[in-house]
Symmetry: none
Subunit: 245 residues, 4 copies
């Protein structure tokens, strides 16, 4: 009657939507994407029809669940970026992501490019996460906290791997130790390797993002389309050299 906030949101609808979302999150975490919708509905204490009113397909429900988690993750990453030193922000963010992964169907399934679950609509959020990771990585590298040969795709793969590790190691503390061990490999400390040659001393640095025209280093911003050129002049020059088509 008096609530003017929100458009057409009724309190019961809001409550049920939240319950479904939460129940679905739990169910996916415990039993994977294959959990029947009926079970989710029962767990949420609502009818199957209610689930369908809020999420027109099972797919949409999956998207909503992970979109929320990804959104929270991105927000937390941006907060870290604003408040912490670059290296702390980077490692803290990775740990945040990995921390969400103690379950069967995880953010990482969504994050890695070849997930078994198709997820068209999430593309935008996932892209934002990837971009944020790239920005944090670059900053940490410039601060000297991360080895220069690491690239953004490496970070994604490492995250996915660490998530799998924590899921596989039932002792939580031990899982964290392993993650720390793995992530520490990213730092430029790099001491003695007993046998076999290590990756650390055999590879040159990872190419940093550079202007495709003049090669100048590019600054990645946390939002917006990632730059290809260092400025309007180079963009125009590149345009002139492209075939007419």
């Amino acid at each position: 009657m008096t609530t003017v906030i929100g458009a057409g949101d009724r309190s019961d609808a809001r409550r049920n939507r939240a319950r479904v979302l939460s129940a679905a999150g739990e169910a996916f975490a415990e039993r994977g994407f294959d959990v029947p919708l009926g079970d989710i509905a029962r767990r949420a204490g609502v009818g199957a029809g209610t689930v369908y009113r809020h999420f027109p397909t099972k797919h949409a429900l999956v998207e909503a669940v992970f979109s929320q988690q990804l959104g929270e993750l991105v927000a937390s990453g941006e907060r870290r970026m604003a408040r912490s030193a670059p290296t702390d922000a980077f490692f803290g963010f990775l740990t945040d992501i990995i921390g969400t992964a103690r379950s069967r169907a995880t953010v990482c399934d969504i994050m890695s490019a070849d997930a078994s679950w198709p997820r068209p609509v999430l593309t935008a959020t996932v892209a934002r996460l990837h971009q944020l990771l790239a920005v944090l990585l670059q900053a940490a590298q410039q601060a000297g906290g991360v080895r220069p040969e690491i690239g953004p795709d490496d970070v994604v793969a490492l995250t996915v791997g660490c998530a799998a590790m924590t899921a596989a190691r039932h002792d939580h503390a031990a899982g964290l130790r392993l993650v720390r061990l793995t992530l520490d490999g990213l730092r430029p400390s790099a001491p003695g390797v007993t046998e076999g040659r290590s990756f650390r001393d055999t590879r040159g640095p990872y190419p940093a993002p550079a202007c495709e025209q003049c090669g100048a280093a590019l600054t990645l911003r946390p939002t917006g389309r990632p730059p290809r050129y260092c400025g309007a002049a180079c963009r125009q020059r590149a345009h002139r050299r492209r075939p007419a088509s």
Copy 2:
């Protein structure tokens, strides 16, 4: 058309068993455990009944496929143990295991304790693998090639994680670099990171069939939304008592 005479029968059966096993291996690798048995049969060029003659359940087929892979792996590990220096044997074996993981359904799904697929019969083979890992680990630690605080379960979890990494990183060479980076963390070196969170919450059960205001019994209809109040009067009364929010 007609079975030729007596003698050859057994070899027929053996050949079919092998074809099914190989078709199942490919199918699981390409499409995961959810691939229908009918597809596997078709791919093997046999009838569904033939699959069931050799493997009484789908579960048994999965077991057979991975039992074979695990067996080969164990054999290779034992060979390494016999022929190489302890540390080389250890790291080489890990790399072997991880190398089998570039597919949708992997040895690691079977190997890790919380695999999505239950696997009673495999326990023996998996246990043998775990034991072999433990032995190799201990030898490498005694040789000073692996940090002493690492335990056998850590190794399993690391393997699973590395398998996920290589699956996530589409550039194969880059994937290998990441794996080496991670495994190098096991060698004598050292520091530390942050914490993660998780998203969950729980809800109470659905209300019993009595008016929440006056307690009168409510009539439940087979269709439509279940009532909370016995009528408009009680509903209004309950509404008035609710906080404004």
Copy 3:
């Protein structure tokens, strides 16, 4: 936002009722009786509950829609009866009825006795239509404008058939020509044709759970094909006794 004062209420309700009725008419015409009630409500710009306030079931809504159309039709027929020569009135009325039928769900579906839609309440209006047709028919026959052997039921069937014709012939003018051709057959003139067939057959019930050969009790599993024999021996015996076919 807030209902203005007291007086206007009834006119609101009347307006909504009319909107629902009109929306339902359009929806039925375009998409048939299977159109969901929610779509009708949306088209009418009201909530589903409002539809139910005015029409307690979907059935009632269908009745109301066609009752209105039938009422208009009957009124027009009575006007014709009063103002035209008997034969003109008769043929004019038939043409009126058929003219309403250029859609998916038609008056004729309601009018014919074996309509797909059950319609108890409409009986009165339909009966009135039938009676009017009978009166007009009799008058036209007495005036010598219609063959004497035609009965009221024939007229109903012809009307239904002509409605189907016009719906099937997309060229409207051509449809009208066909209708006229058909109705002209009612005027004094005359000859005859052949027979049709139909495709049917029936089957006995499913076998009881005992071996068909030796009568032993059979164990039914919850899945898989139910057994007919207790084992391979009986199956083979039964097979031998079967005719070669």
Copy 4:
């Protein structure tokens, strides 16, 4: 073992396919296209899965049922064409078609262009039926047994209308009388019309199929693509005059 006829057809499969087809035919006839597949399966005495083995979707089942009926119809029409006088063949064929229509879901629903049920695959059979109708019509017209202004589309619409008539008139004999009455309107007898102008005297003849290039009369064959030109010469000439595109 010895049956060599047919490829991969097992007797039980053949039997079940026939039972499903027959059960579906009955069910559609009695209760329309909306009958649940489960009911059809139960009526056929088989499981739902068996229906799906033979017909991958409900749509496919509908197609199969009516494809069979249409096929029989076309065959009977071709037999009539070969054995009877043109006019008899024409009217006999129409009566055959109409005779199949004493039910809820009929060949005519399939035959008329705007049926509510989509039917892509049937297009070929329906086209063949239409063509056969056109051939028979032309022959009957040339024999002087059918009025010249009638066209093939008129015949289709009349058939649909007559089918609706017989379905509406429960007394079968009376239904046949009405059909005869209607079809007789196609004969060139055409006597007295009391009031109103009749279609019979107001319209010119229907255009006969003619070569699009030279206007010569075209002979329609019962099979193959209907001709547009009277021969290769006219086809070539028409081709030359077409824009290059």
